[in-house]
């Protein structure tokens, strides 16, 4: 029997190519969406790994600074670690963020490391199958070891001359050197290596980023860690691997968000499979009845039919792999920008298509397709053979009809009810991890179960039968089975469009208002090469020179200056920006949007207390009045929290304190002034802001960035738009799949209803009228989808804004409906739906009255 079905498959495909092709396309897009998101997530993780990678083979412990600043582990710590009992090897490492290597005509960006070749066991030279080359004399003289792909891109071989420099430091800081060696390296993760001393010189400051320690015996790890803690104060000791685990957790929420969006595409694809299988099985009902009559069991027929669906899913997955890879490639820059903006990481370098990710996408596609097909296969195979063999459409028993009529809307209403509960009363909704996403999933599935019932309610519609479109509308509402499935797919897409767009709109409006509220100064000055703003400064750790500070102080229009110092620490395993400002400044209060008692918070801040950001407060469960111990060089000194401020610039968390206090907690290196990373300038009343910016730009030249309030605000909004742009692709995916679904369903309907169309033709309807009837059906599908999907999207928005966002990102957003965007998307849905209906309508118009030889 299997052979029979397989042999008949090509003929079936030839007879109805679209019926086979469109679900395959839908699965391909669904699988492609999942694959692209997986690839991007992996690429982001690999970027993270590259920066946190333990590069010395066999390291058991990693020594890092308490403060996450470049060179925060003092050079003297290295001999101290080496001398500690139980330490077999200790390899000092510095990370060269933004290393660029180039020749006269080409250049490349590559993750860079400064290492001590003697003390570590680095695998770049020969450890990977002996394919690497290393000229030690060149390396120890400042030469650079490159991964082969970078060397190929630059067209250089060992001992060829190149220049090296750091991003943002300008061409003047580049210095010439030689290629000391090459090694194969893994794609996307290959780094360049320099000798430690030369790397420190390139970075322009002493100190190590970490020391990678191997212990004599594996069982000695804990005693060694204790010994090191006692001997070397002011450092952090982590087991190797902890850093990466913490890093992965860093943007788990972001990855989950992307995954959820791709799951929506898959959900829509599953509905499409449901629709196509339904249509295919309707066409093959008598064939199934025949198999059953000839003795095939329900189970056997069911397994065979699901087997066909599985083949279809695998074909779709195979097609989806290049689609996913292309989509991921197209989105790489956007995701990279998002990761850089939100998580202060480096940009993603490239994609690696790992076989396990491809397998995962295929598996997910297969499961979605089977889940979509199973209900209809079950429904068909459980009919009696005599019912299946009867000509015409098989009637359900009254009990079964009741079940199918009432079951989906009851289940759908229950699911939506749960989601509405979560959206309207987030406080009493179970605060389990993922429960917000669970409620969103329940909402989408619940909404998709409603179209049939809503269409039944509209079945009393009688008007407009004189027009062809009106008769199509009537047909659609009288036959929910012919309208519900494609409407369900479109409902999910519409709900997702409304929800995600409104979330982004709310976020943007909140951010805009927050920027307006907190960008109190007139002009902001930061070190050249940075994007400006405290967040950027904290990530880049570039300080302003004394000359810049003098010039800004001397400017005639500057009334007051608010100087900012920024550094990063780790609290409970995650990086937190510590920002020092002049708390005593009269305008200080304007810089913060305080949650709760503003007056008390600002008073406390002025008296040496902390202001913590909302994401940090949520993550650590902090509130005003709590004490927070800050890991400091001197001692872990608890400080009282004066209040919590809104911060939409950093998901990981930040805290503000008075800069003088900060300098006492984190004193600068002896003999050097405390660094200042940014200056906010308040101009005199009546001063010309644009003129002041121009003057400062001219005076400061290339040594600093000068932006005014408005420019900084628009820059921040641009960064936000760039960050959210990645969701656009996934939204388009869902809409395209849903439109395909509408097209597919109408197409199968043309086939199913050819005799009905023929009757209309026989009764005098012309081709335009027939096409109009199908467009009428399409209008009902689109209308129902907009109605239910719009409502579900509104609830989804509330869920995303009030439940998902605070739990996963720690941000409180003000609800804002982007009506213009929503209207445009509504128009896009109508257009996509109507376009999807055009081809079936044309096909229907070609049906001849001779098709009346069949039964309606």
């Amino acid at each position: 029997m299997i052979r029979l079905l397989l042999r008949a498959a090509p003929a079936r495909f030839r007879a109805a190519p679209a019926l086979g092709l469109l679900p395959v396309l839908a699965i391909a897009l669904g699988a492609g969406a999942v694959l692209s998101v997986q690839l991007l997530n992996r690429a982001a993780l690999e970027t993270l790994d590259a920066s946190l990678e333990v590069i010395s083979a066999g390291a058991d412990l990693v020594v890092t600074g308490l403060v996450e600043e470049a060179g925060s582990v003092p050079d003297e710590a290295w001999p101290a670690v080496l001398a500690a009992p139980g330490v077999r090897r200790a390899a000092p490492v510095i990370r060269l963020a933004g290393l660029r290597v180039g020749t006269l005509d080409r250049e490349a960006s590559v993750p860079g490391w400064g290492v001590d070749l003697v003390s570590g066991s680095f695998d770049f030279a020969g450890a990977e199958g002996g394919e690497g080359t290393l000229a030690p004399e060149a390396f120890f003289s400042g030469g650079i070891v490159l991964p082969q792909r970078v060397a190929d891109r630059l067209g250089v071989d060992p001992l060829d001359p190149v220049w090296i420099g750091l991003d943002g430091a300008g061409p003047a800081s580049r210095r010439p050197t030689l290629v000391a060696g090459t090694y194969p390296g893994e794609d996307g993760r290959a780094s360049a290596f320099l000798d430690l001393a030369y790397a420190q010189a390139l970075r322009g400051r002493p100190g190590l980023d970490r020391i990678e320690v191997s212990v004599a015996e594996r069982s000695d790890v804990e005693p060694t860690r204790r010994a090191l803690s006692t001997r070397i104060p002011g450092v952090r000791m982590e087991e190797s691997g902890t850093l990466r685990a913490e890093g992965a957790e860093l943007f788990a929420a972001f990855r989950l968000n992307l995954l959820a969006l791709s799951a929506v595409s898959l959900l829509v694809a599953a509905f499409l499979v449901y629709a196509s299988v339904r249509a295919a099985l309707a066409a093959r009902r008598q064939e199934i009845g025949l198999y059953r009559a000839l003795g095939a069991s329900r189970r056997r027929v069911g397994v065979l039919l699901l087997g066909e669906v599985l083949l279809m899913a695998l074909a779709g997955a195979a097609l989806g792999i290049p689609v996913g890879a292309l989509a991921a490639g197209a989105s790489l820059d956007r995701v990279s920008a998002t990761i850089s903006n939100l998580y202060l990481l480096e940009r993603i370098e490239g994609l690696t298509i790992a076989p396990q990710v491809v397998l995962l996408a295929a598996l997910v596609a297969a499961v979605a397709a089977l889940a979509g097909a199973a209900p209809q296969v079950f429904a068909e195979t459980s009919r009696a053979p005599v019912t299946l063999l009867a000509p015409g459409r098989a009637a359900l028993s009254p009990a079964r009809r009741r079940f199918w009529r009432l079951g989906p809307p009851v289940a759908g209403t229950a699911l939506i009810g749960a989601a509405v509960w979560a959206a309207l009363d987030p406080e009493s909704w179970p605060a389990l991890a993922g429960s917000g996403f669970g409620a969103a999933g329940a909402l989408l599935i619940g909404a998709a179960l409603l179209p049939d019932a809503v269409i039944r309610l509209a079945a009393r519609f009688r008007a407009g039968q004189n027009s062809a479109v009106g008769r199509g509308v009537l047909a659609a509402v009288r036959e929910p089975g012919s309208t519900g499935p494609p409407a369900a797919a479109l409902v999910v897409a519409v709900a997702m469009l409304v929800g995600v767009s409104s979330l982004i709109g709310s976020f943007r409006a909140t951010l805009d208002a927050w920027l307006g509220e907190t960008l109190a100064a007139d002009v902001y000055v930061s070190r050249a090469g940075g994007a400006g703003g405290a967040r950027s400064i904290a990530s880049e750790r570039r300080s302003l020179s004394a000359e810049v500070l003098e010039i800004t102080a001397a400017d005639p229009d500057v009334r007051e200056r608010d100087l900012l110092r920024a550094l990063r620490i780790r609290l409970e395993g995650r990086p937190v920006a510590v920002l020092g400002v002049d708390a005593a400044l009269p305008a200080a209060g304007d810089r913060f949007s305080i949650l709760g008692n503003r007056e008390a918070a600002l008073r406390g801040f002025g008296n040496g207390e902390l202001l913590v950001s909302e994401p940090l407060a949520r993550r650590l469960g902090l509130e005003a009045g709590d004490a927070l111990p800050l890991p400091a060089a001197a001692a872990d000194r608890p400080l009282r929290i004066a209040g919590v401020y809104r911060d939409y610039g950093n998901e990981q968390g930040a805290l503000f304190l008075d800069r003088t206090l900060m300098n006492s907690l984190y004193p600068p290196e002896p003999g050097t002034p405390a660094p200042v990373h940014g200056a906010a300038l308040y101009l005199r009343e009546g001063a010309d802001r644009a003129a002041a910016v121009t003057r400062l730009e001219r005076t400061l030249g290339m040594s600093a960035n000068v932006v005014d309030n408005a420019a900084l605000r628009s820059r921040a909004l641009n960064v936000f738009d760039q960050t959210m742009a990645v969701t656009g692709l996934l939204r388009v995916f869902a809409l395209v799949i849903a439109a395909l679904g509408v097209g597919l369903f109408l197409w199968t309907l043309v086939r199913e209803r050819a005799p009905e169309v023929a009757l209309n033709r026989a009764l005098g309807a012309n081709r335009r009228q027939v096409a109009g009837g199908f467009l009428g059906r399409t209008m009902v599908i689109v209308g129902i989808s907009l109605l239910i999907g719009g409502g579900a999207g509104a609830v989804l928005t509330l869920l995303l804004v009030h439940v998902v966002n605070p739990v996963w990102f720690g941000w409180t957003l003000t609800l804002h409906w982007p009506l213009g965007v929503l209207a445009a998307q509504g128009a896009a849905v109508v257009l996509a739906g109507l376009l999807a209906g055009v081809l079936p309508a044309r096909l229907a118009s070609r049906v001849d009255a001779t098709a009346l030889r069949q039964e309606i």
């Binding site: 459409r393 039968q465 004189n466 062809a468 008769r471 009537l474 047909a475 009288r478 036959e479 005799p755 009905e756 009757l759 209309n760 033709r761 026989a762 009764l763 005098g764 309807a765 012309n766 081709r767 335009r768 009228q769 001849d848 009255a849 001779t850 009346l852 030889r853 039964e855 309606i856």
Partner: protein, 243 residues
């Protein structure tokens, strides 16, 4: 009085998968006058349905001419043919072909909806509201009590009576009936045949009836047989309606 249907030397050939041609109608000529009833008998596959399709303008003949009333179909575009068919011809099918999700009355009104007409000529030629006409027809076929029910709930005989009412709604000059009793039991078939002939005669419409039921065929004024693609008189070598 001009004929309501005139076929002249009509041939209909179909191309087959092997490249050969199958001639289903071979130089068929037929004229039907207003009020005349003609039956065409023949075995299954003899071309009866094709003959009706060609007469209705649903299929275009390979050769020959078809004239519905004063209009020759060959010169008409598809929309014009569709319009003429909707107004001039009533169709009754073996499998009834009702739209299951429409009510009985809505099915009867379907030709008027398609043709966008609100009034049809009454018995005296005076215009009558189409809804009232549908109700009168439903009463005439004995289905006035079931007018608001979905068509799918009707029995076979009721469905065919509905189809006859639908076919007569716009007062067509020609009624084409393809095995109208083929799917009914003997009692139902008799009732439907009575109804069909009564209503056709009341309205002075021409009737072309394809059937392999000899009793039904015998009720027509002219009885023809289709064999080998050609029309022959059912009992005499040349029927009065065949030329």
């Amino acid at each position: 009085m001009s004929p309501v249907l005139e076929l002249r030397e009509v041939t209909r050939r179909y191309s087959q998968a092997d490249g050969s041609e199958l001639t289903v109608l071979d130089s068929v000529s037929l004229t039907i006058q207003p009020g005349e009833t003609v039956s065409v008998a023949g075995r299954s596959g003899s071309g009866k349905s094709t003959l009706l399709h060609v007469a209705a303008g649903i299929e275009v003949p390979s050769e020959g001419t078809v004239r519905l009333g004063a209009k020759e179909l060959a010169g008409l575009s598809d929309p014009e043919r569709s319009r003429l068919r909707g107004r001039f011809v009533g169709l009754v099918f073996q499998f009834f072909h009702l739209v299951p999700y429409l009510t009985v009355r809505e099915n009867v009104l379907l030709p008027a909806r398609i043709a966008r007409v609100r009034e049809v000529p009454g018995d005296g030629g005076d215009p009558r509201e189409v809804g009232a006409t549908a109700d009168r027809l439903l009463a005439a076929v004995g289905l006035e009590g079931r007018a608001r029910e979905p068509a799918r709930r009707l029995s076979g005989g009721e469905m065919q009576r509905t189809a006859i009412a639908r076919a007569l709604l716009l007062r067509p000059a020609l009624l084409l009936a393809d095995e109208p009793t083929g799917n009914l039991d003997a009692r139902g078939a008799g009732a439907v045949a009575d109804l069909l002939f009564r209503l056709v005669r009341e309205r002075s419409a021409g009737l072309l009836l394809a059937t392999h039921d000899p009793e039904l065929a015998a009720r027509a004024d002219t009885r023809l047989r289709l064999r080998g693609g050609r029309l022959f008189p059912a009992e005499r070598p040349l029927a009065s309606g065949a030329r």
